[in-house]
Amino acid sequence: MQKNRLHSILAVLLVAALFLGACPAPASPAPAAESGAGEATAAPAGDLVPVTYTYASRGVPADLAEVQAAMNEILNAKIGVNLSLEPIDFGAYNDKMQLRLAAGEECDVMFTAPWTNSYANNVANGVLMPLDDLLLEHAPGLWASMPETTWEAARVNGKIYGVINQQIFPKPWGVNVRKDMLEKYNFSLDDVTRWEDMEPFLQAVLEGEGITPVYANVDGQANLWRSQYWGYDGLDDGIGFIGIKANDESLTVINFLDTVEYEESARLTQKWYDAGYFPQELPQADEADAMFRAGQFAMSYHVEKPGNDVEAEARYGWEFVSKNLTDPLILDTSGATATLSAICKSSKNPEKAMEFLDELNTNVELYNLLAHGIEGKHWVWVDEGNKVLGFPEGMTNATSGYDPNTDWEFGNQFNGYYRDAKQVGAWEKTAEMNDTAFPSEALGFVVDRTPIQTEIAQTTAVWTEVVEPIANGWVSWDEAAADAKERLDAAGAQVIIDEVQRQLNDWAATNKTK
């Protein structure tokens, strides 16, 4: 009797143990929306193929499920895909995606970029699906929507791993200033051509308002170094310290720390930091946004693409005046690949995922559903002829149930409707900037990180710990630069420079002969 009872207990426990052992490890942080909005409407009907789309967003919109349902109406009928939207908060996006991808969790389409959920890193880690064949077979419209030279920018080691979202390609770094502040302190942006021209205004705001004038957060660079502004092509933003002079035909890879421009930017940043123009302690990204909305900043440094003032107004609730200070505009690979959609290697249905990408980039209605929500509910036509939309009566971006304000993240932005009459013509202007920007000598070259992963890991650590404090003006250039260079070298900086130079020379040999 007793023995039998023991056996049954043992058996139960053994089964439990096997079950525990066999279950996959608890999924790494699941995006908040996955269970909520994602599955609310995702019951696969018939032989629809499920496709997930993961991207970064500012919070999870309340009406996400409705927008998803509306998108599925189009997708179900047209390509037999049942889409689940999986937005993840911007601040958490990089960490969550890197963990998910490292764990091999299944995903289909996702947002990737040089600056979050790193494209180069993902390629080196082998988590992205090569897209060349898929593009030709399943997305002819998408393939034809961009010239082949643009596609080149997404090519690593001969293969395309990401679909470039068409939007602004060069980086017009400039200033984005609150209009009320400009008027109050009687300052005009007309004569501003360089960062330092802003100083009188910043001083006036600091003294008059008692606020920190310049927006910065832990994720954005809290300094005045922007490679394109200073005339450099950064080659790989994730490595951070290497690049070429954009017009250098000899394609010599240099360490930014050795350039006079980097020194100048660090010295200027320090001056600003000491003067109190930059925050003394960097807030988290969402804290900083909230502070801007509450009026605790007067301006930000941003990519001043056409129509950016309207995007910024929707985000921070102030009227803005923008001005680009980058001249000449430089078109480099990281700019052309600033936002991409990629398909995960773990995807079970890459063909359908590609068909979805094709639709998203060519179907204007579908794209605007994702970018702006449902007509009549989230927006109404203000001027249908010019494709300008607005909020329905009595609604603002704060009360709207769906206003992601990140259309550049989803696909071809030129298919987008304008948020504001002021924006009309912005896409044409943007396209013109893309065409007229000065192409970097290394445009189209992408670093293959695979052979130098160890060195990148080491130099990244030194970079964040030792170099960024100098760039951010927290420690003085004279005191710390020599030591920083030394530590960067010890961490393998030269190995990286040599390897990238070798890759660049190989690339030039095959691509620059024309």
Partner: protein, 322 residues
Amino acid sequence: MQANNLKSPATKSGFFSRWIGGQRAWETNLSLLTMALPGILLLFVFAYLPMFGIIIAFKDYRFVDGILGSAWVGMENFRFLFGTDTAFRITRNTLVMNSIFIATTTIGALLVAILMNEVYQSRMSKYYQTMLFFPYFISWVIASYFVFAFLNGSTGLANQIIERFGGDPPSWYRTPEAWPLVLTVAHIWNSIGFSSIVYLAGILGISPELFEAAKIDGAGKAAQIRYITLPMLYPLIIILVLLAIGRIFHADFGLFFFVPRDTPMLYSTTDVIDTFVYRSLVQLGNISMAAAAGFYQSTVGFVLVITANWVVRRINRDYSLF
């Protein structure tokens, strides 16, 4: 019983019963064993099965190829640890900070327990205990904002006080040298209530007759503490310290990650192995390199526990853990 058992080795419970000392012992201990079983299984599933994953540290792990299918790369993944002074630094920080924590918490908790014992009869004692114990339940994420409120540059309480007294306030989040102190204070704040209650229980267990006899012989408070309280607490202190040393290579992730706000400039004194492993994983997305760092932690931790135990056993066999 023994003989009976040997005759029928085919009994289903034969192996187990011989293992634990015969049929009789088997039957007597049955209930105890059953109670221990879930714990043993959990230990097996969560502590022994995952050891298989150690091989990831020696592979170029690609999830498409699987753990077994990925290519072997030897010690390649360890290069980023030992190529610079990283390994030395995170090891030093982990060991030094945990040693400081063990010392300060033990001494502080003893002191608090002795003081608390003196007011134990008073009405306020429960209030004191609760106040000291309370921080133990506060998450480090929240505590990090307390610390930030004290130390941040523009509006921080600490700097305002320093300025009031005419001092030159430091920029705390840019001064790595200050952080061993800040973290120690934060750790004491968090843990002293818990540890002191253990010691207080120990003190209450000491026979009051000893103190009475001492008083009659004319011993003052100091003498009582020195000659009665502390010697009686000795075994307890040693066991608690040994347990802490056993975990000396496991830094408190919450404390080291959130309280310094993951500030790169402070890494030289606040980066410990746990935070480093986490960062390698989320920044590089490279599971092999993170696994290599984790493997390093386990190895050194293992050696350390064995050594600590060996040392204690040389001093006094009874106090060693195994």
